[in-house]
Symmetry: none
Subunit: 143 residues, 4 copies
């Protein structure tokens, strides 16, 4: 089983920022959390607005909370809004159910953690997250 380290989290953030620069994205905030849902590293680029740390963590937490990426939560928000509302109830409002929260697994399928990104469109946030996950050789699950 692979366990998330601070060094891996730093590589994920660097790779996500590099992808964002390549794509010309707006200033991002990136949160990397471990398998227990606890923050390992967060970086907010200059110009990324003040609630972004909570939004990035909310996407990452949503992914580990239900065991898949936040694209699945986003789809459920449309088909079963009461379920997403209930998830926010039981988590004290900790989940942000839009794309950009990507679950990270190792080669055995065990959860290693998740990365959450916010600042551009949800699709672009997710593209940057995927670049981050690829940089450490983990398997990404967008939901």
């Amino acid at each position: 089983m692979r366990k998330l380290t601070l060094s891996m989290a730093e590589q994920i953030i660097s790779a996500a920022f590099a992808k964002a620069e390549e794509l010309g994205l707006k200033p991002l905030t990136v949160a990397v959390i471990d398998a227990g849902g606890h923050l390992t590293a967060l970086s907010r680029q200059d110009g990324s607005s003040i609630l972004r740390p909570q939004i990035a963590q909310g996407k990452a937490f949503g992914a580990v909370a239900v065991g898949t990426g936040t694209r699945w939560l986003n789809a459920n928000a449309e088909s079963r809004p009461h379920f997403i509302q209930a998830l926010n109830g039981v988590s004290n409002g900790a989940i942000v159910p839009v794309p950009g929260g990507v679950l990270m697994k190792d080669e055995d399928g065990d959860v290693v953690g998740a990365v959450g990104i916010t600042g551009d469109t949800s699709d672009n946030d997710e593209a940057a997250a995927l670049a981050g996950v690829a940089a450490v050789g983990l398997v990404a699950d967008c939901g």
Copy 2:
């Protein structure tokens, strides 16, 4: 980079009230917050109801939280209601996502703060806010 001062906040409130008088609006509450989302000045006109201070602050906070005026939040509330619900989750219910929260930037594009107004229709609240922002020579972003 310009920093919000109490003197600027007082000018914003005065200009907003002058515009409201010119337009014959109902009693307003005006909140002016700094770039970090913290209240610098608030004035509630006689007859403006008791929850107005929270509503005005919720509009202003919504603007700095996501880096654009609350008209953008209002549009998202219609297209992606679960995203706006999630923003209220991660902010402990601090956001009021309707027009009338206007972001203020300086000439370099840096956020200086926001003004939030409530009491009349959302469009009229916003018109008063725009008069306030113009009075101190800042750039308004309605979202």
Copy 3:
């Protein structure tokens, strides 16, 4: 019965700031709330730190909450700490039980509102509040 107006609140704030300048106090935040405990006006001087709006309101609210100035709450915090903790429980943590929250009454003894000040020592905060209350001819109750 006298009812708090925005004009009165503005006079209270101006007089408190004038007293603070005379005494050479640190930057203050002043909150004026009505008999229902709702904010009428607030001003935070440049350099007054970011939690001051909540502290000033917490002092003012404490005064109207129990019908006397916060000096009484401060004394109770020493003699009956469980009572003050319980007040914060039933008020969702809205009370700051240290001097500087002054109740305002009219000549008939009816509550008109309260002023709460923070930024310097509690005694100096209270001195500025008393100057504010005197400026509008109301009776001050420090507790």
Copy 4:
């Protein structure tokens, strides 16, 4: 007036970790927040326990909330426990009032942000924070 950047926050964290290694400290978590109390960067070293991100942020937030380092809050917790309890009430429990939260100011005395560190003793946490602040040429205020 200097504004906190992500680059500065990264330098602060690196210098704090270097100091911790030099002193042989336990695994630390470092949070760097801006003048508005919002997270700019956070790093949790391998082995630093799961609540450390909240503790580090609570120390940093405590410093900007009242405009001085958390050593001042720690002293107040002993002399006026009801005041510290009230601060946690009005801030929704966001303050950790023990040493290790260091306010950062520029040469003009304006607040730039704060760094909060947890993991070893409070005194050692503070020593690492001071090394971080020194690395970016800001003035440290321990309270």
